[in-house]
Symmetry: C2
Subunit: 355 residues, 2 copies
Amino acid sequence: MVNGNLGIKDIAKLAAVSIGTVDRVLNNRSGVAPATREKVLDIIKQTGYKKNLVASRLKLAKNKVIKVAVLAPTPRNEHSYWNLPLQGVNRAIQELSAMGVSSAYFYFNQLNHQHFREQIDKIFQEEFHALITVPFFESESNMLLRKAKEKNIPVVFLDTERELLYSSNFIRQNALNAGLVAGRLLHGLVGDEGTYVVVNILNDRGKQINNLQRESGFRSYFKHLPNKTHIKHFTINHPLEDDFDLSPELKTLAKGPTKFGIFVTNSRSFLLPSIIKENNISNYHLIGFDLNKKNIAYLKSGEIDFLINQKPQYQGYTAIKGLYKFLTEGDNSQLNIDIPVEIVVKENVEYYCAR
Amino acid sequence: MVNGNLGIKDIAKLAAVSIGTVDRVLNNRSGVAPATREKVLDIIKQTGYKKNLVASRLKLAKNKVIKVAVLAPTPRNEHSYWNLPLQGVNRAIQELSAMGVSSAYFYFNQLNHQHFREQIDKIFQEEFHALITVPFFESESNMLLRKAKEKNIPVVFLDTERELLYSSNFIRQNALNAGLVAGRLLHGLVGDEGTYVVVNILNDRGKQINNLQRESGFRSYFKHLPNKTHIKHFTINHPLEDDFDLSPELKTLAKGPTKFGIFVTNSRSFLLPSIIKENNISNYHLIGFDLNKKNIAYLKSGEIDFLINQKPQYQGYTAIKGLYKFLTEGDNSQLNIDIPVEIVVKENVEYYCAR
DNA sequence: TTAAATATCGTGTACGTTAACGAATATACC
DNA sequence: GGTATATTCGTTAACGTACACGATATTTAA
């Protein structure tokens, strides 16, 4: 055996049984006398035997393929955010294809609850061993979880959009924490005497829980500062379709000498620079989320100061890897991951947009 | 075959030869007629056959164990920096132990060239398949590279301390880029009207190339600013053992209202806060490198603003993974890695110090 | 032309684990 | 006690690749 480790054969010899019996004990199948089982388990404990996952998977690959279903919103275009986790999923699937892991993709219309349900039904008709999806619709997601629990299928949710009834596995960034980080970064640039604006740019489905939590984290940072006297806070909730305009009060402030600190709670910070110019604001700092093309361009031109990365590709990648570990080793420690709040500036953006 | 992929057996059938012949072609061994070889290669190209590394390793595990030698400075204590890459190495080795990868550790005295040589000799006496080390001593590192090239053993260097004669593989952070990032972060906090101090805290072996490059990157950031008029720059080269003191000019400035921006080019930024207090400087910002205990404590207390992480554990981890990929697949793309310049603040430090 | 040498290629076994199959023993029932 | 049924356990053939060995076919030398 490699590394001086023992194999199932050695265990069998030590326990004076056949490899078949050892295998039955290891995979706790029936057909072993209690005394024999004890004896084998003893040897296993004593020797610290660990099964060779490579050999195990080699044998199982043909019979027990691991099929993972991935259910994501239909991407609007090739630059859509939801393509990114799928890229990570693909990379992980490629790495594990030799181990018999495969995936199937399902898409749902972002505005259509019914369509989501249909896709769920489709998935549960086929035989999958795990499911990766996004908590878009609250009641539907809970329904999904209930069904999955019945069938004993592990579910991993990427990102945070909803709070869910049933406890489940999440791979996501702590939105409150991200808000705190944004608070620190923006306060460092703007200082105590500035005007702070939180911009929630709402999408079709209204304000989401992570927008709320990011804002709350941001505000909480300022609450805990020693001298918070001169800080003015505004919140703009801006539906995506509407024309974007500053409030009269902000317009007045914009004419003064005040420094602006603008925090966009989602990936649409690229909408701000043009509006800022229209209002003749020059002394401002801007922070947003996600490394999409437009955001990166503004980051490079200096019109966005910081971006916070949620590592969407990594989310998909680590979801597959975590599920594999769970399904083969029973180790669920990689199914709940707090994605680091990654700070991106012009000078280090290259490292992060590559993948 | 898994995933509809073909196996060596299918290739053999398609090419109307035996699997032995296909194997000879794949591992380009001798004993195949040119025409047959062509035929098989054709089929391989057409089908896009990729060998199953799992099965391959399973077979090879007993015969061809991959042994990696790791040569690092003797850690001064359990919190020593050089323990961190070794932790990453260990993690990777554990993951790959089933694939027959093992490691052996060698340590050298940081001040003793001769000792380094002795360890190198020891390593080359045994049969290793790869070597991971640190470019501490220039001439000795080059000697090592020469020997390794003779024996055809891949070498990976972690971190940058020296420029080396022979080209080799490096897993390290771009020090110039890190300096640029530090420049942006500090300038954001201090602004155009500040006094900037670069502090090089030298260790036993004098100033190292990454200290120089970090400083040069930092300065270069300010050179490219539109309005660079009021920025004052100082550099303090401080041998670790000496008492640390500010220059007369800096002491005078310290009495005035100027904002200080202090950039420590290595992991010893934790030495600064006490000195700053002694000189009654209150209006300052401080940035340094590495997530050691003392730095983290000051980051949490607010006396350090930013830390730049070099991900030492990841360096060790990715070195092993990269070597494995090279030795098994011949893919050397993971042997030269530019470690991201990771920005750490109080609010996201938890994500990074866990591992 | 024939034996020897070489080139080319197929066969078979092994890696460690799994699981079907069947053999051996133990238990139940009439 | 004898047959039927359960329980327990050993044997063996895969999974896909690697490589030693031996079997042909081809070339070389005499």
